[in-house]
Symmetry: C2
Subunit: 233 residues, 2 copies
Amino acid sequence: MKPVITAFDWVPPFAQGQVRDLRVRWALEEVGQSYDVRYLAQGAHKGPEHRALQPFGQVPTYEEGDLVLFESGAIVFHIAERFKGLLPPERDGRSRAVEWMFAALNSVEPPIMDHAIATIFEAGEPWSKARLPSVNARIDERLGELSRRLGDRDWLDGEFTAGDLLMVAVVRILEGDALLDPYPNLIAYVARGTARPAFRRALAAQIAGFTGEPPARFKEWAEKHKQAQGETA
Amino acid sequence: MKPVITAFDWVPPFAQGQVRDLRVRWALEEVGQSYDVRYLAQGAHKGPEHRALQPFGQVPTYEEGDLVLFESGAIVFHIAERFKGLLPPERDGRSRAVEWMFAALNSVEPPIMDHAIATIFEAGEPWSKARLPSVNARIDERLGELSRRLGDRDWLDGEFTAGDLLMVAVVRILEGDALLDPYPNLIAYVARGTARPAFRRALAAQIAGFTGEPPARFKEWAEKHKQAQGETA
């Protein structure tokens, strides 16, 4: 049975290649499971039909027969349990892979998302520039800790697991950002993860899906954002 | 074999009853598994010995024979898999319980932690007061969505699961805060969760463990925080 996921038919440029269905596509590609995509126009994700599947009005969702799941971390875990290739066979290794999944989403991603809030969604607010150093300091603390733990290993704990998949997906949000410069092993880790054929296929599929129209409110937002960047530059 | 967790021997008053070993203690109490605690003095969690177990210098950790785990979400999941009582027996129900675990930690907790950053750690910063409405708006959006999904059910998906355990632990960070006022079903949900005997035992055990001394830098911080609150009041 082919699972069906949801994804957006268009997102602003800064989000292309970052929307979380990418993580689910990547997991499905790693385990060799084909899937179908139901695309949502901007706005439809906040409507009652999608909210019946996803209470927070986000993508992706995952449908497989009677099972409906949301929350990309949980979907990646479900795929990793259901198919071979993303979790070690023995129980302790499996628990450690799950540990890195939670670490990626609960310890490393929140400060990185805070950076996105500060530089994108609150970019035009008067406090944003003053606040950025403290946001960056929290990110740097986590990156330093992750870098020291990774050391010169290829992956966080033995072979590539769903933990690496989510950690690479989280750290690559900063790809090309100076925040990663002090940590060449993390840059190499992200490069290693994103060079995987399964990742390349997942990314290409997400990008190819952006065939929809930008909504009018995006054009307004983009204009305001451009102005705000000019003011704080 | 009795698992061993780590916890702090003292934390500031605002964190007492919130440190994340509570979630692990609660899970262990729910499944009826006794445990030992190794207490860390403030500061020891950032030392090399603890970092060998927990790369981010946090508590709790969980040791069970050769297995060492960190990240409270992952530890709760491990306990839920290892012992009966926190996950439904059938696969789909299990995947949905895991979905709520990730939703608690990745969709609901980050904006709530942002509130803690704004009102505690950045309380003295000049931008904090101006920024708070946008932080609160993000929390309110999530609480409203959670409230609508919960409806008049006792728990998120059938019987109490590890997903409810983490969601209650996250939402109760706001217990007594006006942000919860518009959502009486969430207030009742938290009350239902925290009335469970396993929760009461876990909370009492965490509080009883705070027998250590406040470090000198806390006294400085408390003084500064008090001043900052006076300034923004």
